[in-house]
């Protein structure tokens, strides 16, 4: 009997390992393949750029520098976390929408509006107590992002307007809104170029190392909150059900339209907080051309993390590490390898992820999870228009 129990326990463990591998295989393989492509790119660039002896070990030197810049010591690790923070929040904004079957390309616009909302309140409260200024500025960022997420959700619910189209348009509008606000009402008098005042006391305090600000904790709290919402609450069940099978959800008495509006608004909250942590934690002010690619990188993060909150944390840390390590890589290779190599790596990872059917066939992977549900969402939302 006891041996039988042990084998059944072993079998369960083996089953668990299989399940985990099935889940992480594609992301891990995509990362490895992207790093290999990076090696090829570096070697090719050596051939193209004249005046240097060809060095076969350069890719490895570059990767070592990248790794050291991201993980070797407290400051590099803090930098990694700091770069990962907005990506975690943005990744959640995209991933949550994926769970409801929505492709939120608008994370970038929601991010920008969140940044604008928090800088507006932050500047207004820059001499108030931090205990008031910080929560108020974060809240303003969350609400501004929520508003920017609500619009496409609402449009989809009432008219079926596709979120891919509306969020892309709203991204452009967000850029214009910021340019107007920063060069108009928020412009600090006397500055040569449009720029807002500093957020002062609303700035997120540094809690670790030289520049590890409070935003990391905001991101951790958001991960826990989203995980709890999705998997422990009835609301999350509704979101997942609407994403997985809207017809069955409707029969079960759920209201897909309402869920769409709620989910897009919540996604806006997360992306808005992402923008808020950048403004309040890193830049402390905004320029008229304030822009990062956080909102777009978040899509890659959500895909790499399979839309799961935990997966998103790992994916964001990876991308954050590449951002944090890139400057050291550039320095140590005497600028032979520019920091932009990490953009190539990121894009290549994404490419392999999306091409998962090809990878599965080439590597003869069986039993690996059929695909990323999120890429199926992309295919579905791009391909066929429907929500009646």
């Amino acid at each position: 009997m006891s041996t039988q129990e042990r084998t059944s326990a072993q079998r369960r463990l083996a089953g668990l390992a299989r399940n985990v591998w099935a889940l992480i295989a594609l992301p891990v393989i995509s990362i490895v393949l992207a790093l290999l492509v990076g090696v090829v790119v570096i070697l090719a660039s050596e051939v193209v750029v004249p005046g240097h002896p060809f060095d076969v070990t350069l890719p490895f030197a570059a990767y070592r520098a990248l790794f050291e810049g991201a993980f070797a010591g407290i400051d590099p690790i803090v930098n990694t976390v700091r770069a990962a923070t907005p990506l975690v929040l943005g990744g959640l904004a995209v991933g949550l929408a994926f769970k409801a079957g929505l492709f939120n390309i608008g994370a970038q616009g929601q991010f920008l509006l969140g940044a604008l909302g928090s800088v507006t309140v932050g500047v207004a409260l820059n001499e108030a107590s931090p205990f008031i200024a910080i929560p108020a500025a974060l809240l303003a960022g969350a609400l501004a992002g929520a508003a920017w997420g609500f619009i496409p959700g609402f449009l989809k619910a009432i008219s079926g307007a596709h979120e891919v189209v509306t969020t892309i348009m709203l991204n452009y509008i967000a850029v214009a809104v910021i340019a107007w606000a920063v060069s108009g009402p928020l412009d600090q008098a006397g500055s040569p170029s449009p720029i807002t005042a500093q957020v002062g006391n609303a700035a997120l305090p540094v809690i670790i190392g030289h520049n590890g600000h409070l935003g990391a904790l905001v991101a951790v709290a958001a991960v826990l909150a989203v995980g709890w919402l999705l998997f422990r609450t009835t609301r999350g069940f509704e979101i997942r059900a609407v994403g997985a099978n809207p017809d069955a959800a409707r029969y079960a008495g759920m209201q897909p339209r309402l869920i769409i509006v709620v989910t897009m608004s919540l996604a806006g909250v997360l992306a808005g907080l992402s923008g808020a942590t950048v403004v309040l934690g890193v830049t402390h002010y905004m320029t008229a051309s304030f822009g990062t690619t956080v909102g777009f990188d978040s899509i890659a993060v959500a895909l790499l993390g399979r839309s799961s909150p935990i997966g998103i944390v790992f994916a964001a840390l990876l991308f954050g590490a590449m951002r944090a390590g890139a400057p050291l890589m550039q320095i140590q290779t005497q600028s032979l390898i520019p920091a932009e190599l990490v953009d190539v790596l990121q894009a290549t990872i994404l490419l392999f992820l999306v091409a998962h059917t090809v990878i599965r066939r080439l590597l003869k992977l069986r039993g690996v999870k059929a695909g990323l549900e999120s890429t199926e969402t992309i295919a579905r939302t791009y391909g066929s228009e429907s929500v009646g």
């Binding site: 422990r232 609450t233 009835t234 609301r235 059900a241 079960a252 008495g253």
Partner: protein, 522 residues
């Protein structure tokens, strides 16, 4: 048939000792199967018995843990559908593998495009060949027709042509008749007989006993992954085969007993409903279902049954008319409100309305009650109560599953349907709407679901049964309503109804005089 001659011939295909284990189940346990040229070999078994796994192995979609496949006596390796096609093995799947937006010829050529040069597809040559192939069966095939615009029966013919176009000689048909009307079934059988006479080796998968007896030269029955026996049709009968399949005695007809109808539970007045394209497909229906009776709705598919059912359960808004449940007007109530008033629903399309296939069984068991205690406290899910619910449902309804945590999509059709039935039959239902409740199921599951329905009726539930299988309606119904073009053209007593008369009413709608609903004949 000419089995003496065939016995002499060597098998075209042999599968030896095929074993396949999935986590928690032994799907195939040392299965031997062979098929000779010019033979239809039927593979019979319940859902989940391992038929599909075996065929997936043959077609290179799954890798066996043990066993070998021989073609003309030579072992072959089939690692992918591509290999299978190379070895001239073709499969017509139950769910067609066609691209609806492409034309007939594009579907047939897909992956095998004949080139007239380095760049261009040899369209006209291909079209000619397809037309000729079709003609050999007496089919007028238009290669440019979009597949999505074809009827199900014609789509199946395209699948068969696709197989023949690729020079298949071993043809596997996975439940080819599940989606066909009786007329189309006859036609497909004629095709199979012709293919057999031309020397094709055909594996015919089904769980419809009378079909297997009609078409097969040999019948092999598998149960729980094992071959339980082979028979020649002349040496067996439906009862014998059913018992081999299920492993115990089965009653092919349920003893429905007497009904004791009570008060009217569901009443539908002058109901008009439009379909998705906006045409009125339910054109003024009246019907009543009483507590403790089964009202069967008989009709050829597409005469407004789907829309009627959707309107009754709250998934579709009627354009006019009234629906009452006991004394409540529920015409404009949503599905949840009706569910709370005691309406259960077994949908015809279980993958669409019945289940979330990517969710575990646990979540599917609480799909309609997830927001209520004990499954939720406030907005927080109570996992313990949810698990308990699933375990109870799995036990009471004999759902064959390795665990409650596997996703619904991994179960066989019969077991998926049992999950839905377990969910919808639970509790004190006032009304159960059963839309094609046994479509695509095996005898064991059909018997089980029929018994459950009778038990519910005897407990005082009103049951509305919609089915395209006239036999099912006749077998279960206390009263039968015949629908034709969106109207109820006749109501008959279930016990005394004449099958021929109902069949004619289904096909023609009867005379104009009977277009107004009449009271039961008895």
């Amino acid at each position: 048939m000419t089995s003496d001659v065939q016995n002499v011939q060597a098998p075209a295909l042999e599968m030896r000792g095929i074993t396949k284990r999935y986590p928690g189940v032994l799907a195939n346990d040392a299965i031997d199967l062979d098929v000779r040229p010019g033979e239809v070999h039927a593979l019979l078994g319940e859902n989940g018995a391992g038929k599909t796994t075996l065929m997936n192995i043959l077609y290179g979609l799954a890798v066996p843990d043990a066993g070998e496949i021989l073609l003309d006596g030579k072992p072959v390796e089939i690692a992918s559908p591509h290999d299978a096609i190379e070895h001239r093995i073709s499969m017509v799947h139950q769910h067609f593998m066609l691209v609806p937006v492409l034309s007939v010829s594009e579907n047939i050529l897909l992956g095998e495009e004949p080139m007239s040069g380095p760049i261009f597809v040899d369209r006209s040559g291909a079209h000619r060949r397809i037309r000729e192939l079709g003609k050999s069966f007496g089919w007028e095939i238009d290669p440019d027709q979009r597949v999505g615009a074809l009827s199900v029966g014609w789509q199946q013919r395209v699948e068969i042509l696709k197989a023949l176009y690729r020079n298949a000689r071993v043809l596997v048909l996975d439940e080819p008749t599940a989606v066909l009307t009786p007329q189309e079934t006859k036609e497909i059988f004629a095709v199979l007989r012709k293919l057999r006479s031309e020397g094709y080796a055909i594996i015919f998968i089904s769980h419809k006993l009378y079909e297997v007896l009609e078409i097969a030269d040999r019948i092999t029955v598998i149960r729980r992954g094992k071959v339980v026996g082979s028979r020649e049709p002349a040496a067996t009968n439906e009862q014998d085969l059913a018992e081999m399949m299920v492993g115990r005695e089965v009653n092919l007809t349920v003893d429905r007993g007497d009904s004791a109808p009570g008060d009217v539970v569901l009443s539908v007045d002058e109901l008009r409903v439009k379909d998705d394209r906006g045409s009125e497909v339910v054109q003024g229906m009246d019907l009543e279902v009483r507590a403790g009776e089964i009202l069967g709705v008989a009709g050829v598919a597409g005469n407004g049954q789907d829309e009627l059912v959707e309107a009754i359960v709250g998934l579709r808004r009627p354009s006019s008319g009234r629906i009452r449940l006991d004394n409540d007007d529920v015409t404009h109530a949503g599905p949840r409100q009706r569910h709370r008033l005691g309406v259960g629903f077994v949908p015809a399309d279980r993958h669409r309305f019945g289940l979330v296939l990517t969710f575990p069984l646990t979540d599917n068991f609480i799909l309609t009650d997830y927001y209520e205690p004990p499954y939720a406290r406030g907005i927080v899910r109570n996992e313990a109560a949810i698990d308990e619910r699933a375990i109870r449902g799995i036990r009471d309804f004999d759902v064959r599953t390795p665990s409650a945590r596997v996703t619904a999509g991994t179960l066989s059709g019969g077991n998926q349907q049992k999950v839905i039935v377990a969910r919808e039959f639970d509790g004190e239902q006032r009304l159960l709407v059963l839309d094609q409740p046994t479509r695509g199921l095996d005898v064991g599951s059909i018997e089980f679901i029929h018994r459950q329905a009778i038990a519910k009726r005897d407990a005082g539930t009103a049951i509305l049964l919609v089915s395209a299988e006239l036999d099912e309606v006749l077998e279960l119904s206390d009263r039968i309503a015949v629908v034709f073009r969106g109207r109820i053209v006749a109501i008959r007593d279930g016990r005394t109804a004449d099958k021929n008369e109902i069949g004619i009413l289904m096909a023609t709608g009867g005379s104009e005089a009977s277009s107004a609903p009449s009271s039961p004949a008895a």
